[in-house]
Symmetry: C2
Subunit: 200 residues, 2 copies
DNA sequence: ACCTGAACACCGTTCAAGT
DNA sequence: ACCTGAACACCGTTCAAGT
């Protein structure tokens, strides 16, 4: 015992994150604990605190990976060759699909709250911003006579909307059953909003 | 000790809920614990379990009260005498205002997750349904040639949208500062969606 | 230098025992 | 009959001590 040096810090970190992600995927946010992660990788709890600041830090690292996965899923090959409206609907539906297929991972991103006084690190906020930027860009071709500020506001309203439908659906608060109806709701929100936005 | 009979079950319940609400308002969801509630009302933890099934049950009771408060706030006096569009915007803004003024109480309603296998009791689900019904009714005058099903779907999309903006704003994920901009986002979402919905 | 093991201050929940 | 107090199985976090 003590001084094993079986693994480097980096290896330890990777093992811990992988083990933690497995727990989250299987048991959800509530099922995660430092002790479980430590047990999974064959170290003591104390060791985790050599690699992560605390449990919030560990969760943040996982959430960052989740945001990366989500971003990858939302990156479409033919973004430029299709109608902007269809593209935005596709973005929304990719988002819903991701949340539906990996609900625990997705939920942790939004269920995890930092202590009131702490705020998300810049590198993390950037990952969130990147997603909003996708929507903003998708909206750009429809801007018409709208100012850049209008487009920004619209992208936030729109994405907030998609997110809300997603949340309510996954928590069964929308009284809609199945992914298909959620996808329809999303499409309804986006298309109607865009009609209003473009003024067609 | 033992056999105090200082308070009836009903009194105990009321005291516990009031104490618990105070803790939630001040310290948020995470700050709540059965032991703290018990200490506040001068009883042992065990006593709480004579009045509530478990801590989830206690939280559900608080959340039910919160939904009642919210419903009261959203009930407007002149609902029938104003433009339906304005009315829906007012509903949305009342929702945002409530969340902004009482963030901890509001957040607990949406942060609290039941165990995967358990579902919300019918009496609780009805309180949620009641709020969606308000939106649905507000939307009714704008239905035009839309089917009843379309109106239902639209009310869900719209309310999901408002909710999403509210969540992202309160978790600082929208990059918007202050209630005013959130209110603007909400109005943008609702008015543009309605333009699309009514086809004007 | 690296990791452990035990400690500390917390949880939710249960239930024999006291009055 | 009513409530306690202690127990059980968990938490996150810290850090002296062992190799």
């Amino acid at each position: 015992m003590a001084r094993r040096s079986d693994h480097s810090r980096e290896e330890l970190r990777e093992m811990a994150l992988t083990a933690a992600e497995k727990i989250v995927v299987e048991q959800g946010y509530e099922g995660l604990s430092a002790r479980k992660v430590a047990a999974q990788i064959g170290y003591t709890v104390g060791t985790l605190y050599l690699v992560f600041e605390n449990i919030d830090d560990l969760i943040l690292q996982i959430n960052a990976r989740t945001l990366d996965r989500l971003h990858a899923r939302m990156t479409q090959p033919h973004a430029n060759s299709i109608d902007p409206r269809d593209y935005l609907v596709q973005l929304g539906q990719a988002y819903i699909r991701f949340a539906d297929e990996d609900p625990h991972r997705w939920a942790m991103v939004f269920e995890h709250r930092l202590a009131e006084d702490r705020s998300l690190p810049a590198w993390y906020q950037e990952k969130v911003a990147r997603m909003f930027a996708m929507v903003e860009q998708g909206l750009q071709p429809l801007a018409g006579r709208h100012s850049q500020d209008d487009v920004l506001q619209a992208s936030r309203a729109l994405w907030g909307g998609v997110h809300g439908i997603c949340i309510l659906a996954l928590s069964d608060n929308l009284g809609v059953a199945g992914v298909d109806s959620v996808q329809q709701l999303t499409e309804s929100l986006i298309r109607n909003y865009l009609k209003g936005f473009t003024g067609d």
